[in-house]
Amino acid sequence: MAWSRFKKKKNMPGGLWEKCEGCGAMIFRKDFSALKLCPDCGHHFSIGARERIELTVDESSFNELWADVSTVDRLDFVGYAEKIDRTVGKCGNNEAVLTGRAAVHGYSVAFGVMDFAFLGGSMGVAVGEKICRLAELALAEGLPLVIFCASGGARMHEGALSLMQMAKTCGALQRFHEASGFYISVLTNPTTGGVTASFASVADVILAEPGALIGFAGPRVIKETLKQDLPKGFQRSEFLLEKGQVDRIVPRGELRNEIGKLLAYATGGDPVAVGAVAEDAADREAE
């Protein structure tokens, strides 16, 4: 819900350095690899939707669809239209999710990636619409569905209409499910509120990046309700794994191969071959 809660702290002067939320170390930005991990503690920094696509799918296999679906301010909500204009200008995409066809280890998929930089990845009508179309595409073409989630929840500025996107997306996913479609959801930091309480949580396999904040209510709301401190590690991926809420925690660098293997299992491919390709690639990188 409260995407603004997750707004980035102000960058250091010049934006050359970034402070690790995991260990507090100052990291020179140029030291970041493409994975954007803390070299000291392995903390997973947020990455953009385009970077995520680069990291995950086969080279130039992403074919974006419905990029023109854009926000409609049906409530005429104070300041919303201007906010959207600014955000579109800054992010370069029309909404908080990118959708399209892609391939992972050669397996064709319907692929969606949420963009946390776009109003905290919040879900309004446009996000709901694109997720629905993606599920419908997967259903029509018999493709597995892979969605990377990063969201503060439903988008307040669209009122109950954004709430209804939870129903809309789940409705589309129910149809996909009934047709035995295979759906992998990847929860990244943070995934909370209406997105967790809808399409992110109804996948066949749920993966999570290490240390990601995942939950229904935000920790601040819970803390204020209970008037007590929350246990250490509460609502982080590791906590969810222990409580049986996610299938696997997968470090960013291994996600592509893990997803490839799962796709192989689900579509009658060869998981061992995916593993071998992955090892070859790792060897080449090491050289």
Binding site: M1, A2, S4, R5, R74, L75, F77, V78, V125, G128, C132, A154, R155, M156, E158, G159, A160, L161, S162, L163, M164, Q165, M166, A167, K168, C170, G171, A172, L173, Q174, R175, H177, E178, G193, G194, T196, A197, S198, F199, A200, S201, V202, G215, F216, A217, V221, I222, T225, L226, L230, P231, F234, Q235, F239, K243, G244, Q245
Partner: protein
Amino acid sequence: MQGVSGHSISLPFVPSGCWIYNSGPVGKSKKKNGDHKSALQRSGPDRSVERALSFEQPILEMEHKIQELKSLASSTRLDLNGEVLALEQRMLQVTDQVYSGLTPWERVQVARHPCRPVAADYVDQMLDDFVELHGDRLYADDRAILTGLATMEGRRFLLIAHRKGKTTQERLLCNFACAHPEGYRKALAKMRLAEKLGMPIVTLINTPGAYPGIGAEERGQASAIAQNIREMFSIRAPILCIVIGEGGSGGALGIGVGDRVAMLEHSYYSVISPEGCAAILWKSGDKAPEAADALKLTAPDLRRLGVVDDVIAEPRGGAHRYPEATIVTVKAWLSRWLDELAEVPAEELTDRRYAKFRAM
């Protein structure tokens, strides 16, 4: 009763429209098979939580005066019927005036009014039989959601309702209608039962939101709600939903995917509470009225936006003032749609259900 004079009276204990309750038990008293009362021994509304709504002050003053006059008449044996009648006429006019111009924020306050009819009132006054079914068979029985088999003038259905309670003790027991995952899982399990028995499903929505707590998160609050929403699209039985008070975000939608969704006139349905929205947007809970305005959370607004299908009119003065009449209207709406949807084949029901939400 204290003397009343002039206009500047202070009314610390004005029963905020609860005089209907005070005039004795309303509705038929029927023997129910259900044990929904055993866990929550119900009594009259709890005085300690009553509060007067500020915009209702003119109505309350008139009500008070009428009461005064009536007690005066009975103690002095004077014939004041004419005066009482005139005052009552005037009060209806004042009520009309106040209630025809409620702001969204005022509607939220009406929706939350402690005397507003809650699940137990509907069970008592609307049903001829009710058999409560407890538990999710996984973890616990969540009192915040009531489920059971219901009969209403020959029509059978599964009732699912957020439970608020009327006294402080009851409210605590039902956690103020803030359900945990087990509540949503119980609802889904009973919906599957209804489907199997070929019964329609009626849900009464009235929650500030799903509970934000440690246990709720540990047991998968988000997952439970998501599962309900998704599976409600596949239930091969008619589903009717009515927001009778507060429609608090995902906690409401978790039992809110219906073939026909209605709201009582002064209920609200929103993605976030006005207070929460104001805190985020303006960093101040005091701006809740502005937020209520911006969120378009009222029944007429949501009908216009296509989020709900029907608005069920409340008696002028609100459901908290006329609970019995409100429940009669709800019953009529339910009867109509239960009959109408009974004719629709299951396949068509689920197709139309999806098409309705797909268009939002």
